[in-house]
Amino acid sequence: MARVVLEVRNVTKRFGGLVAVNDMSFDVTQHEVLGIIGPNGSGKSTMINMISGTFPPSAGVIRLNGQDVAGKPAHRIAQMGVARTFQLVRLLPELTVIENVVAGAAFGHRRRWKGEAERYAQTLLDRVGLGGVMNVPVSSLTYINTKRVELARALACEPEVLLLDEWLAGLNPTELQTGIDLIRSLREDGRTVILVEHVMDAIRSLCDRCVVMSSGCKIAEGTPADVLSDAEVIRAYLGADEDA
């Protein structure tokens, strides 16, 4: 049995009267790619935000390698080994591509500085396919390349768990294939990844396991094939479609 890296136990998040996440529990084991899926507004992003420390859960426990991280500030959680990307890409506009990546390396889980950080950033940029554009300003990048930079920055933290929040969203079909390949290669590196995604192809081909959320609750958990054929899951998605 592989080691559990991240444990989520009975986590609830309330915003005022609204319960965004309700009593969620799941585990992420080492080298696993876990998908979190569900219709819009089902609480996926809120879950990611609690794991990464954007805000604390209202109740429940989140453990990283056995240590409770729930309610700790985001920078502490990042230092303990959780790195993430954002639903809408967030780069540092006044910094060059390589500086963007060094930003991840300098303060993250394993800290690097100066030459070491730069060399490491270079290898990561090569890794995501951006070896040639290291010193350009980020404003000149194409959309998929901004996503690559963001991914490289998250990797530069050398995280125990990598959170990808709809990283594939908004890519055109060719780019999508490139993106999926890139994430697959991460998986092959043995990284532990939580993937919040809408793109079903990606989920099928990338995830070892899936957690399905609807209205803040976990309604299914299992392999992608299992959960995507689950009646309740289908109902949740169709219901959401009706609302939309």
């Binding site: 990464s52 420390g53 954007t54 500030p73 985001a74 920078h75 502490r76 990042a78 230092q79 790195a83 993430r84 954002f86 967030r90 780069l91 540092l92 506009p93 006044e94 910094l95 060094v102 930003a103 991840g104 300098a106 303060f107 993250g108 889980h109 800290r111 500085w113 010193n135 920055r153 933290c157």
Partner: protein, 308 residues
């Protein structure tokens, strides 16, 4: 250290050396303008150390400056003179740390107004305490001349530049640039944003307090309404922004022309000083967005010297 950095360091040291010779040339008018420039150089540069990368506009300079003048006012008779700027610096850093811890989570305009309110609050409290204790306005009668003050300020300016340069090369400096770009990213990259901001705010608070302590002998008569005058905070912001905060030398590039302009207008239009200053101000805002630094960048860009 790269060759370029060494060159810049030597050039800066030489520039400081030359500027430090000024009192041998003139101890009157020019020295008094130069002293004002030196004072604003320290204030604006240290202000920009914090506000440049973080984009937080602090209007609390007057609070720290006033604190410093009061340290000298209370202490100059009982304590060795050299210790006063140090004490002022420690107190300034302390006040900044305290304020920073509670306020730096405010953003944008809320922080601006808070710092303005803070300066006024400190002034009111000092006045009230003075009144309760029957303390009068303080007379700082010393034998310190303008030349001494000028040299002290120059030394302080050199120190601020050195600190700024070191911070710029350090992780802290890099962290601040990231915070200024996107605080959320900074947090999730493992940066303790609150700590970084508070540290820098303390540096700039300490610098302003030290400047206040050094300048008290020039004022001779210290009272809260002049020591904590809010106009100072605004002047510092304007000069720093006029110069541009993106580079360490930016604020100086604002301080020098602005002081000269102020002097020119005061001299040649004594009855319309404020009107013309206001208009000059507007002109700067409209014609020089991004300050002198921005102008330099645009020129560089235009003439194609900016290749990486």
């Amino acid at each position: 250290m790269s060759a370029r950095e060494i060159r810049n360091l030597i050039l800066s040291a030489m520039a400081f050396g030359v500027v430090a010779l000024l009192p041998f040339y003139d101890t009157g008018y020019i020295l008094s303008i130069a002293t004002t420039m030196a004072m604003f150089t320290v204030l604006a540069t240290s202000w920009a150390l914090f506000s440049g990368p973080t984009h937080y506009i602090s209007l609390a300079t007057a609070a720290f400056f006033g604190l410093g003048t009061f340290v000298t006012g209370y202490g100059f008779q009982t304590m060795p003179y050299w210790s006063l700027p140090l004490i002022a610096g420690v107190l300034g850093a302390g006040l900044a740390g305290l304020v920073g811890m509670v306020t730096l989570r405010l953003s944008g305009v809320y922080f601006v107004i808070f710092t303005l309110g803070l300066a006024e609050l400190v002034r009111q409290l000092v006045t009230w305490v003075q009144n309760r204790t029957g303390q009068r306005g303080m007379y700082v009668l010393t034998s310190i001349t303008e030349r001494d003050i000028y040299w002290q300020l120059l030394g302080m300016a050199a120190l601020v530049f050195l600190v700024g340069w070191l911070i710029g090369r350090s992780r802290l400096g890099f962290a601040l640039r990231i915070i200024g770009n996107d605080e959320t990213v900074a947090k999730h990259s493992g940066i303790n944003t609150a700590l970084a901001k508070v540290l820098l705010f303390m540096v700039s608070g300490a610098a302003a307090a030290i400047v206040g302590a050094m300048l008290a002998p020039r004022y001779i008569y210290i009272e809260p309404s002049t020591a904590f005058a809010p106009i100072l905070s605004f002047q510092v912001v304007i000069m720093a922004l006029l110069g541009g905060t993106g580079r360490l030398w930016g604020p100086v590039a604002g301080v020098i022309p602005f002081t000269l302009l102020w002097e020119f207008i005061s001299r040649h239009a004594p009855n319309q000083t404020l009107l013309l200053l206001g208009l000059a101000f507007l002109l700067i805002v409209y014609v020089l967005p991004g300050g002198v630094v921005g102008l330099q960048a645009r020129l560089k860009h235009r003439f194609g010297q900016g290749g990486h």
